[in-house]
Each structure stands twice: as C-alpha cells, then as structure tokens.
C-alpha cells in the first residue's frame, strides 16, 4: 500500500499525543497534577494530537469537506476515529481550561479522558485492521501495535516532561519492551500473511478457480494507474530487512539506552528529548514499512 507521508505522520504523532494525554489525565485524575500550574504539559499533548489530525487531512482530495467525516460514526471506523479524536481533545481541553481559571471539574474526568484516548487510538488502528483485502493488516494485532506504540511514545514524553516520580524511567522501559514485543509478534504473523494467505489467488480473482491454472498474460494498459500507485506499491520492499533493523535501533535500542543514561546523569531533559526524537523516528520507519509491505489482493489482477 502507498505510504503517504501525511498518514504516517498522523498515525505516529497523533498516537503519541493521545498516549501522553491519557497518562496526564490519569495522573491528574489521581490528583498529582493541577492544571493551574501544569497546563503546558496538557498543551504539548493537545498540540501533538491535533497536529496529527490536521496532517491527516493533507492526503484528502477535497480537505475542505473534511468536517463531513464525523457524520457516519455508526458504520465507519474512519468516522468513529474523527468523532472520538475531536471529542477527546475537546473534553480534555475543557477540563484543563476550567482548571486554569480555577474551576475544578471532578477528578473522575481523568479516567474518562484516558479511556477515550484508548478508544481513539483503537479506532485509528481499526481503519486498517478492518480491511480484509489486505491480509497483513487484517488482524487484532494491528490495534495492539497502535496501542502499544501510543503508550510507549506517550510514556517517553511523560518522562521527558514530568519526571517527578520514582520508577518512571523503569516504567517507560517496560512500555517500550511491551510495544516492541507486540510488534515482533505482528512481524512474525506478517511473514506468513502474504497476498494469497486469505485464500485469494489469481484463479479466484478471475472466477476460474477449479477450471484452470491462471496467470496474467497482459495488463489492461501500458502505464501506471491509481490502483497500481495506491495498492500495488512495491518500491523499497527489497530493503525491508534493513529498514526493520533501523526501526528497532531508533525505536527501541537507542531510546532504551538513553532512558538508562537519564537515570545516572544530570540534565536528563536533553537526554529524554533525544530519546523521544529517536523513538518517533523509529516509529516513522516502522509505520512506513507497515504501509509499504502491506499487499492488497487487487495486485493479483496485476500479475503479483
């Protein structure tokens, strides 16, 4: 599948934003943060979540109509994602602003906002996981990796911005380990989930299953088309293993080492900024592969 930059940025940055918002909301819900003093933490979370959402409109053919995407929440995961994201950001923003002006809303809201963050990231992942024609995505492991990386990036941001508790760095390390363990499972399944793994092949695609062995003789046209650009994307697959190593290095090994370093040296804000930056860079590579390696059954009509 075509890895659009705007969608890679949206899924990673928005995921990090909602991860941070969820952790901030839980902390505030337990009474450890007051928005009057620490509103800027909330601002960082909202800025990440919202910039990701805005970025997602850049790949639209008609972004001026994007507001229509909140209308079909009863049937569409993309619509649900939009509704949940807007509602979660709105409710969180309201809670923070109310706290800033000295009007304390119930702490309970923390748990509600954290739950909404989980649902939002889940809905984002379901946009891809629901697609049966893309066997690599069509698994419950897809929402699991989106949630895992949302938590790991949110946790790293939390250590960077609000390192006030013992054991936070250890917690972040644990989240990193969990997120990448789930991703390793996803990769193991993906190795077997090629375009034919769902039972579709060129014979079923042409209705000739049971009648003949079938292979493409001639494409409909000599040049590229929209379908080939979007769904028969093969550029860079040969570098997949190298890119996977880069993703692991930037996304897991480097931030884990920096987390360890932050425990033993002073000035650890700079170290954590570096950890967050490399982790997100690793996630960009991971997400690029998520799209680039996914095969769509329509490629069976194009000789794959």
């Amino acid at each position: 599948m075509h890895p659009a930059k705007s969608v890679i940025f949206f899924t990673t940055i928005s995921g990090a934003g909602f991860g941070l918002i969820a952790l901030l909301a839980l902390t505030a819900g337990m009474g450890h943060i007051s928005w009057g003093k620490s509103w800027e933490l909330a601002a960082v979370g909202l800025a990440l979540a919202v910039s990701g959402l805005i970025s997602s409109t850049f790949h639209l053919g008609n972004p001026q109509r994007a507001w229509r995407a909140v209308t079909q929440w009863q049937s569409s995961w993309l619509s649900r994602e939009g509704v949940l994201a807007v509602f979660t950001c709105g409710l969180f923003g309201l809670w923070v602003v109310a706290g800033m002006v000295g009007y304390a809303l119930p702490d309970m809201l923390g748990y509600v906002v954290a739950g909404l963050c989980v649902l939002t990231v889940f809905a984002t992942a379901m946009i891809y996981a629901q697609l049966r024609p893309v066997p690599r995505w069509h698994t419950w492991l897809t929402p699991a990796i989106y949630l895992g990386f949302s938590l790991s990036s949110g946790m790293l941001l939390m250590v960077m911005l609000h390192p006030h508790y013992d054991g936070m760095a250890g917690g972040a390390l644990g989240c990193l380990a969990i997120a990448w363990a789930v991703k390793a499972l996803w990769w193991m399944r993906a190795a077997k989930a090629d375009v034919r793994s769902g039972g579709s092949d060129t014979a079923t695609a042409t209705g000739l299953a049971g009648y003949a062995d079938v292979r493409l003789f001639e494409k409909p046209h000599m040049t590229k088309n929209y379908l080939m650009k979007e769904m028969v994307f093969v550029v860079g697959r040969k570098h997949a293993n190298k890119l996977r190593m880069i993703a692991l290095l930037l996304g897991a090994a480097v931030p884990a080492s920096l987390l360890g370093l932050s425990l033993v040296i002073d000035g650890h804000v700079f170290v954590m900024v570096l950890a967050v930056a490399t982790h997100l860079a690793g996630l960009f590579v991971e997400r690029w592969l998520f799209f680039a390696e996914a095969e769509h059954v329509v490629s069976l009509y194009y000789g794959r």
Binding site: Q72, S76, W77, L131, R132, S200, T206, L216, L227, Y301
Partner: protein, 261 residues
C-alpha cells in the same frame, strides 16, 4: 447513512461471458466516453499526449493465460487459452466500500442495489478504494473524488433515450455480446437464467462481499475436456495436430508416391 440496505427488491448488475469476450476494449472506451460527459465529474486524463499518460477508467480489460485442468485435475498445456477479463464494479450486496465511507458519500441504493458515490460529499480519502478487493474504484486526480461504475444509472432509466439504448454503455457497445445487463434478484430474468445455465460465478467469494455481477466461465473447447464435467470424448489437440491418414484416391496417391521414394 453509509450502512447497507437490507436485500434490495431489485439487484441490477452485469453478467460477463468470459467465453466470448474478444478483448477489444470497446466497452472500456465507450464507458469512458459516456461517463466523462455524464454522471458527476469528468474522467480526467493526466499528460494524455505525453510520455507517461495516466487517467481514470471505470472498466479495464485484463488478459489472462488459462491452462485448463484435465480429467486427472492436472493442467493440460496443450489446451491453454487466453481469457480476456473485463473488470468493473460488481455492485456487491455486502459492499465494504460503502460501510467504510466516513462521510456517507458512498452508498448502495435500496431500490435497485446500485452502488454510487455522491461526489459533492466525497472528501477523497481513498479508503473505499482500499476496501474494495476488485480495484473497482479510482480516485480522479483532477476532481479529487472517487469515481466508479454507476451501471450507467443515467442511461438505464433515461426516457429521453430510445429503449434499446437504456442499457449500460459497455453492454450496448460490446460487439461480441459478451456483456449482459439485468435484474439478478429475479430468477426468471434473462441474466439469471444465463447464470443458472452456464454456472456463473462470483469473483473472490472468499472475500465475503457477495458481488451481484456474475462471470460465465469459458465453455470447454470442442473435443477437449471440461473441468469436472465428466465428458468422455477427450481428444488431445496434440493428436489432432498429427498428420491424418488420407483415404480414397488421395490415399492411393499418397501410398503410391511414398513407394516411389
């Protein structure tokens, strides 16, 4: 709402005969011609006269090499044939392109089952094209909205056209009569009878989309074995290609001339 209608009373669709399609692309050309001036935005082309032309088409014809199986279920290379394969929207009963749409632009009509795009509400996110297993939807690069086969909804009900023209453009233009249009919910319609008689099939049934359009598989070539039909008159084309034994005067001549060395 982008939920699907419960069993439309009519299921308008196409039946495509893979036995007689000659792969001339006339249906695709006429489709593009009609639909670029008809329903919704034009079907644009990019760099049409340049080195790397591209464009939006609602119907494309792929060609496949099919090696039919013999009695034993083994591919019989001597019976290989080309199957020309026109592909457009199948107007599925369980159309995932409809339910994934975030804006309600993509919908299936409750009266006749035609799947359409309301282009004024389409944001061009492309998710419906990703949800379609068949590659039936193409985003128009000029208009930024999703284009798809409308089953020529602006022809089939159009009383300004002579009655014989109230058919999809692809059906009307097919010189081999390989494309047929009708109501597949009505078991007594011509198309339903054709599907029953010829064993019409769904494309990729394992994807669970329940397509309305059906494809008629190629008939067995005369003298060759049809898949699983148990016909006994199997004559290998290789054998047919061997020199036949002449009879009568020609046989005598053949015999006599052979003797002369």
């Amino acid at each position: 709402m982008t939920t699907l209608p419960i069993e439309p009373p009519k299921k308008l669709g196409l039946v495509i005969d893979l036995d007689i399609c000659v792969g001339c692309h006339a249906c695709a050309v006429n489709c593009k011609e009609w639909n670029t001036g008809g329903y919704g935005n034009a079907l644009s082309d990019q760099d049409p006269f340049g080195a790397d032309p591209a464009g939006t088409w609602l119907n494309r014809i792929h060609s496949f090499e099919a090696v039919p199986f013999d009695d034993a279920g083994q591919p019989a290379p001597q019976d290989a044939r080309i199957v020309h394969f026109p592909k457009s929207c199948l107007h599925c009963d369980d159309a995932p392109c409809v339910t994934v749409c975030p804006t309600g632009a993509s919908y299936k009509r409750s009266e006749d089952g035609i799947v359409l795009v309301n282009e004024d509400a389409c944001i061009g996110c492309g998710l419906c094209a990703w949800a379609c297993a068949y590659g039936a939807r193409e985003m128009d690069a000029e208009a930024g909205v999703m284009k798809k086969c409308t089953l020529c909804v602006d022809r089939i009900y159009n009383e300004n056209l002579p009655e014989e023209d109230r058919q999809p453009a692809c059906v009307r233009s097919c010189p081999a009569n390989a494309r047929h249009f009708g109501d597949l919910a009505d078991p007594f319609s011509d198309v339903s009878k054709m599907v029953a008689l010829r064993g019409g099939v769904d494309l990729m049934p394992e994807q669970g989309n329940r397509p309305v359009n059906k494809y008629l598989p190629p008939r067995p070539k005369s003298g060759t074995q049809a898949c699983g039909s148990g016909q006994s008159e199997h004559v290998s084309l290789l054998k047919m290609a061997e020199t036949p034994q002449a009879e009568g005067f020609v046989g005598w001549l053949d015999h006599a001339l052979s003797k002369l060395g």
